[in-house]
């Protein structure tokens, strides 16, 4: 049940992020929305790892069931990668803003052509 609830929450977060990406024009807001979308994937990974009555995957004497550790590891990797990509996205936003005086995505597509 808890797992299902987590999937629902992840789907809602995904929807919020996608809405942001589609409806916002400011590049910073698009970056934020994309990372919101990304965090929904992290939530799915965490939900995937969930086992009823299981402990966190740190071995302690007397505990028999642990949650699946692999999705946690994947989630950590995905978070770090996401952070790296996000920093590049923001740097590009700064460059565009410096050149055009605005971070509206429309200038990127118009490009005086």
């Amino acid at each position: 049940m808890l797992q299902q609830a987590m999937y629902v929450a992840a789907a809602i977060v995904f929807g919020i992020g996608l809405y942001g990406v589609l409806s916002r024009r400011d590049m910073v807001k698009i970056c934020v929305s994309l990372s919101v979308m990304e965090s929904s994937l992290i939530m799915i990974l965490v939900a995937l790892a969930y086992r009823p009555d299981a402990a966190a995957p740190i071995i302690v004497d007397g505990v028999a069931t642990y949650v699946d550790p692999l999705p946690h590891a994947l989630a950590l990797t995905a978070i770090v990668i996401g952070a790296g990509v996000l920093s590049v996205a923001l740097a590009l936003t700064v460059i565009v803003h410096r050149a055009h005086g605005t971070s509206n995505i429309a200038v990127v597509f118009r490009r005086g052509r």
Binding site: I59, D68, A73, A91
Partner: protein, 236 residues
């Protein structure tokens, strides 16, 4: 990207519904729990001596992933550096009042303790090089906010930060080559003769704490230099 709010809302709703059904349907039909999880959990201590299974996966079983993600950070630092090349000027953040500066100065010692703890205990409790490195980079940002960009830039030379990152990346590769020299594999841990230690103690996990320390330095200096790059832009 250029879309009415209503249309965007509909698409977002539909997609999130799709994600939901996807995950729910496969969560139900996916069959039994992956047996790999059990193998990894039970094998962690025997493999590396680390009680933190996630850390064992990240830095032992799947250490190539970690090398890859460290390289992603390295690449983003290089990217941001390329983008802000030429605007190497120090930011003009003025810094805050004397009260804040003093208290941040005193607190920074404590603040330094936290990332060090996270990095050092990466194989024992949640945490590790990435998490500790990030908090260390936050300390840099905090100090910049408190003291202003100019004193910070003289205290911590951004180009030296960049160099630190490259050196620690080199360190990661070198640590990987120990396995090659020992006749096993790249990034091998216990197989290359690193001592497992007593599981649960600070000195355990073989190569894992070493890699955590290297990654900690690397992430801290990498994110720090990204921050300084963003700062330098303000100087224009």
């Amino acid at each position: 990207m250029k879309m009415g709010h209503a249309a965007a809302a509909i698409i977002a709703l539909a997609s999130s519904a799709a994600v939901l059904t996807l995950t729910l349907v496969f969560a139900v039909t996916g069959g039994e729990a992956p047996q790999l999880a059990g193998a990894m959990t039970s094998g962690s201590v025997a493999a590396s001596g680390s009680v933190n299974v996630v850390t064992t996966i990240l830095l032992d079983f799947r250490s190539l992933d970690t090398l890859g993600e460290a390289s992603v950070i390295f690449a983003s630092v290089a990217c941001v550096g390329v983008l802000f090349r030429g605007s190497r000027r120090i930011g003009t953040e003025p810094g805050l009042g004397v009260l804040v500066r003093r208290s941040v100065g005193y607190l920074s010692a404590l603040f330094l303790l936290f990332p060090l703890y996270i990095v050092a205990h990466g194989h024992l409790s949640p945490g590790g090089g990435f998490q500790g490195g990030v908090s260390l980079a936050v300390l840099l940002i905090l100090l910049t906010v408190a003291y202003g960009s100019r004193p910070m830039a003289t205290a911590v030379d951004p180009s030296r930060l960049h160099m630190t990152e490259s050196l620690s990346a080199l360190g990661f590769l070198m640590a990987g080559f120990v396995g090659v020299l020992q006749g096993t594999s790249f990034l091998a841990n216990a197989a290359a003769g690193f001592p497992r230690g007593v599981p649960g103690s600070l000195l355990s996990g073989g190569l894992i704490p070493v890699l955590n320390a290297i990654i900690g330095v690397k992430v801290a200096s990498g994110l720090g230099s990204i921050f300084f790059d963003f700062q330098s832009e303000r100087g224009e």
